[in-house]
């Protein structure tokens, strides 16, 4: 059985892999980082109406169905790049919780880059068949005024 350091390294690898798969738009592979009962949420707090808002709340199947249709939509042509850092991991047997910070950059086709969004990932993880997977990924967005709207996951 892997020791705690190895388990934490495996979880860090999962978080970095998730970032890479989103950067490369390998959405089917990214969705497969979730267990079948997995859940993906995007939330943000509105200072204007004093409410924590839900921007997206999907099961794995719903997420998969949405991403399969991405290619049909008129959409932002910029390339995205995720940076994930400040990773905190708390492991209890075959489950774990992870907090991390992220920044996403957009580079437009003509080569102009901007910071697109920052926030925190609050992840619930589960080890199944020897691999760590997302039971729930909750994206807590700090950025609420986005340069472009998109239904691509953060």
């Amino acid at each position: 059985m892997a020791n705690a350091l190895e388990e934490k390294e495996a979880i860090r690898d999962l978080l970095q892999t998730a970032a890479w798969l989103l950067d490369t738009e390998a959405f089917a592979d990214w969705v497969n980082l979730f267990v079948d009962e997995g859940n993906y949420q995007v939330r943000a707090y509105s200072t204007e109406i004093g409410v924590e808002m839900e921007w997206m709340n999907l099961t794995k199947d719903e997420l998969s169905g949405m991403l399969e249709q991405v290619i049909e939509h008129l959409r932002d042509l910029a390339q995205r790049l995720h940076l994930v850092s400040s990773i905190q991991i708390d492991i209890h047997d075959h489950q774990a919780h992870s907090l991390s910070s992220f920044a996403i950059f957009r580079t437009t086709p003509d080569g102009v880059s901007h910071c697109y969004a920052v926030g925190r990932y609050e992840d619930s993880l589960i080890k199944r068949n020897g691999a760590w997977r997302f039971l729930q990924r909750k994206v807590m967005l700090h950025t609420r005024v986005l340069e472009v709207a998109s239904h691509l996951p953060f």
Binding site: V42, A44, S46, T47, E48, I49, G50, V51, M53, E54, W55, M56, N57, E62, G65, Q69, E72, H73, L74, R75, D76, R144, V145, L146, E147, V148, A149, S150, H151
Partner: protein
């Protein structure tokens, strides 16, 4: 022999196009703030956002920061968010609850009714003629309809009821005024486009099939069953009279039907209800959830848009979650339609600077008839033409020739 663009354009009726400079010219933009946004009724928030005594919201209208305040006497009031001492803002928060407003700079204090309650070191004003009663907050006209709060910066404009007209007021009251609205969602973005192009997108259904979701869920019969009711002052109501078997089929995109109840009064689950109020307000219901757009024009090519998703107070957690879900699927910042609409109007504005001879945008569709002689009101840009006619009235400019030039011989 080739004809020029102007000659080809001149074949259309004069009212059926507008000069693209109304979207790009800085002088016209500056005039719009003075001649339109400072004179018309502007939606600012829901009554439920300032539901209790002491609740306040800060909003922006025509470049002015305004306070919307629920007084101790239950009255909603609006004031400029400016201390009458030396123009510091009374609050830098966007919302809150308080018993009085105290300017952070020299600590002058104002009541919720706008009266100046206290000044620091008052002995300094002795013998100067200074009187607290003279320096209360500057008030702004405020009226409500259907749970929606409107303000008007002008004292000369007619009442809100008259501005909207009785029929439209009743239509809003019959659907929104029968329930207590609750903002479930609020987000904003600065679009790289002119504010009127976003209003166009919010008003016309011609572009509907830009959207993958609409292509997969709405039939041709649904589209052609949609028509407009026009009102004075540039407002419009878009109604769908499609028979039930031709309504929106959300299942076509893998989404749930909205016929499961909890719809807004008088609205079918799988149809729409759309009100456009001049100059910038969108009220749009898809069965179970209301979307409200308002705009703060920042420059000819930059527009702050505020989006609200609205449900009903008193919903169970399950029903509330359903409304949030229905909102987010299409209209949220991660919805299927909103990103496509934004991309469209931003690209549209960017290419208005292309330097080609294409000087005008075309609004030339007129009512047509089906093969069996039935009218197809959807094939009519009448609401857009009425909107720009109203724009021309407030601006005292022709939208077709805003700088007075002749546009094509014989038009």
């Amino acid at each position: 022999m080739t004809t020029s663009y102007q000659q080809r354009l001149a074949k259309l009726p004069y009212t059926h196009s507008v000069d693209n400079r109304i979207y790009t010219d800085p002088d016209i933009f500056a005039q719009e703030n003075k001649h339109i946004f400072e004179r018309v009724w502007n939606f600012v928030c829901l009554e439920s956002e300032v539901a209790s005594p002491g609740d306040f919201r800060v909003v922006s209208v025509a470049g002015h920061s305004l306070l919307i305040v629920h007084g101790e006497d239950g009255t909603l009031r609006a004031f400029y968010n400016i201390c009458t001492h030396r123009a510091a803002p009374l609050t830098r928060q966007e919302r809150g609850n308080c018993r009085a407003f105290q300017c952070f700079y020299h600590l002058w204090t104002f009541g919720l009714d706008g009266s100046l309650r206290g000044v620091t070191r008052p002995e300094g004003y002795e013998g100067t003629g200074f009187c607290k009663e003279d320096f209360g907050l500057v008030s702004v006209r405020l009226e409500t309809v259907g749970g929606l709060v409107f303000v008007c910066l002008s004292q000369d404009t007619q009442s809100l009821q008259a501005y909207l007209g009785q029929d439209l007021v009743e239509r809003i009251e019959n659907t929104l005024g029968q329930v207590e609205l609750e903002a479930l969602h609020y987000h904003k973005a600065i679009l790289k486009t002119n504010w009127k192009l976003w209003n166009d997108n919010n008003s016309e259904i011609y572009h509907s099939f830009l959207h993958v979701l609409i292509r997969k869920t709405a039939s041709e019969a649904f589209y052609t069953g949609t028509g407009h009711r026009l009102y004075p002052n540039g407002h419009a109501f878009t109604i769908n009279t499609t028979p039930s078997d031709a309504r929106i089929k959300y299942e076509g995109y893998g989404l749930e039907s909205r016929e499961g109840g909890h719809t807004f009064p008088g609205v079918h689950g799988n149809t729409g209800w759309l009100v456009n109020i001049f100059p910038d307000l969108l009220l749009l219901i898809r069965g179970t959830v209301l979307r409200i757009d308002r705009m703060v024009p920042l420059s000819p090519g930059r527009t702050l848009v505020e989006w609200r998703g609205v449900g009903l107070k008193g919903d169970t957690p399950e029903v509330r979650a359903m409304r949030v879900r229905h909102h987010n699927q299409i209209w949220g910042p991660m919805g299927r339609n909103l990103p496509e609409d934004i991309l469209a109007v931003e690209e549209q504005w960017r290419h208005m600077h292309s330097g080609t001879e294409l000087s005008h945008s075309i609004y030339a569709r007129e009512p047509q008839q089906s093969a069996d002689g039935q009218p197809i009101p959807a094939m009519d840009d009448e609401n857009m033409r009425a909107y720009y006619q109203t724009w021309g009235h407030w601006m005292d400019r022709s939208p077709q020739a805003p700088f007075g030039e002749a546009v094509g011989a014989g038009r």
